[in-house]
């Protein structure tokens, strides 16, 4: 187990390291001088030069890369070029929105997927199965930002149950904060849930055809008991795989959906930073997003080992 854990952890670090290089290289090619953008087009060349030096942008790329990474390792993200405040200050509030939003939509999508997927599998080829799968096919096709608009129209404008956008801040109370995350989470979860529901259904159906399910039935276990004790755990393996792969898309979805609901999360932070040529903020935020994806996949790997004892054996 510890070898398995260590191996996965090393992969995690290597991926993050690779991602940081890619991000830095990409931002290096980004045209537009941050100093020029900050000072405006009328700035004198001298002023630009001074600011460039002040921001440390005159140093060679390699040096800047290592000072960035070194800073991160010491918990220091540097200062925003545009706002002259520590990046962490800009990002802290955004993380408090994006992370709960991602977790909430993940939970919603898993609930949605398990309920629909299991129900459809249990009613295999019946009318309810066919129509549920038709709906899930539609769910996959719907752009999440459009669904977000429709949800606003229905729940916020027509029914006035939930706020149409904005975020009051967690100081206003947890419930108020969650209330304004429900619609965005629902918009994100529907698409993810539709994908996962299809996987759940086909995976459950596949496992039901396994020999060991027949063995379980031959022992005298009822259909339902077999589903819970023998089928579900095996069927979850591909579901979790796809869940891990989909997390990246979910996170990307938050970038767009946050925009629809005017939530000051990581998405709006990164878009604003791109417009300001605030490269250091972009670098850090994108690395954070990549880090979340990598971390999720690390957790998925660990979950595998818990669910499927065969994996541990292969790795050791």
């Amino acid at each position: 187990m510890s070898v398995f854990f260590a191996k996965r952890f090393l992969t995690l670090l290597a991926t993050l390291f690779g991602a940081s290089i890619v991000i830095f290289l990409v931002m290096e090619i980004l045209p537009g001088d941050p100093a020029l953008v900050i000072l405006g087009v009328e700035a004198t060349p001298d002023a630009v030069k001074v600011l460039t030096k002040e921001l440390g942008l005159d140093r060679p790329a390699l040096e800047r890369y290592f000072s960035w990474i070194g800073g991160i390792l010491q918990g220091e993200l540097g200062n925003s070029y545009a706002y002259k405040v520590p990046v962490w200050e800009l990002v802290e509030g955004a993380l408090k929105i994006t992370i709960p939003l991602a977790i909430l939509s993940m939970i919603l999508s898993v609930i949605l997927a398990l309920v629909i997927g299991l129900y459809a599998a249990a009613n295999h080829n019946k009318a309810s199965d066919v129509s549920l799968m038709g709906f899930s096919q539609l769910g996959i096709s719907v752009p999440n930002f459009w669904l977000a608009v429709l949800l606003i129209l229905f729940f916020a404008v027509n029914l006035r149950w939930l706020p149409p956008g904005g975020f009051p801040g967690w100081e206003e109370g947890i419930w108020k904060g969650i209330r304004s995350l429900i619609l965005p989470a629902l918009a994100l979860a529907t698409v993810q849930g539709a994908i996962l529901a299809r996987i759940t259904r086909s995976s459950v159906l596949e496992v039901f055809r396994e020999d060991y399910v027949r063995t379980a039935r031959a022992k005298g276990l009822s259909q339902r008991a077999t589903l819970w004790t023998h089928v579900l755990r095996n069927a979850l393996i591909p579901v979790i795989t796809v869940m891990g792969l989909q997390f990246a898309n979910l996170l990307a979805g938050t970038v767009v959906v946050e925009n629809v609901f005017h939530l000051p999360g990581l998405g709006s932070t990164v878009l604003k930073a791109i417009n300001n040529r605030d490269t250091i903020v972009v670098e850090n935020v994108v690395l954070m997003l990549a880090g979340m994806v990598v971390l999720t996949n690390f957790i998925v790997d660990l979950l595998y080992a818990v669910i499927d004892p065969r994996l541990k054996a292969h790795d050791i």
């Binding site: 031959a218 005298g220 276990l221 009822s222």
Partner: protein, 331 residues
Amino acid sequence: MTLLDVRNLNITLQTAMGEARAVRDLNITLKKGETLGIVGESGCGKSMTALALMGLLPENATTSGELLLSGEDLLEKSEKEMCTIRGNRMAMIFQEPMTSLNPVHTVGRQIMEPLRLHRGLSKKEAFEEAKRLLDRVGIPNPSERIRNHPHQLSGGQRQRVMIALALSCSPDILIADEPTTALDVTIQDQILELIQTLVDEEGMSLVLISHDLGVIAENTQKVMVMYGGTAVETGSTDRIFDELTHPYTQGLFAAMPKIGMGRNRRLTTIPGTVPDLINLPKGCTFTDRCPLASEKCGGAVPARSQMNESHTVMCHHLDKAIKARGGELYQ
């Protein structure tokens, strides 16, 4: 006392290509402690018969006839009632030990399941009993093995676990569907011997399904030869091997490697393939492959002829078949 009495069992499968008649007009009687072998090529309906006995036929199957276990018709039972019979009064061992155990649970947990379900044992009692069962089926070091997952055991050991599972509630009938086909030759005999010993000790009845006449001959008292979904020859094992009658049984026997057979003698085969269960031939299903076939064979299903009190054969050309017993049908 008759323990199992199958009367006119018919199984039909709804497939995309049409209705497949997997089993037709099958009759089986089995007394307590008796052992029955069912032999035939794949697709002859032997596994379907076993699954029908357990009430585990696929959803697209329909059955008719009677399946009497101690006088109770299993086909009339509700699913809930069947759950109290499966694994308790009737247990089954499958062909593939590699895939018949759940990979994510320990073998102990899987053996404990029926013990807790049918015998109402507590978790602790079930654990001790599972250990005893593992020991009984010849697994060394059971207190350690009980915590293993299936992938940590060899194929032979897994089949022993399957036997322990089947044995757990001392069933009246043990159904073994090709229990050794997937195993190494050296292990096959050990497993069959184990089954034999346990059946003797427990006084269970055994239904042993195999495509291998040799396995059947050594391990059963009665034999039923199936072809195209029906029994073409039935009788006591001793008698059938002395007096092979049906041309198909003769063919199976000729296709079996024999001790003392010269190195250069080629194994004989029965030409052709098993019949299409969706478009069954009108008459005798073996007509296309039978060396004795005549026009009569394709026209009508042969009657069941009683050779003596325990031996029946379905063939239009009994006389010729009896004459051919020397083995000249398949050269």
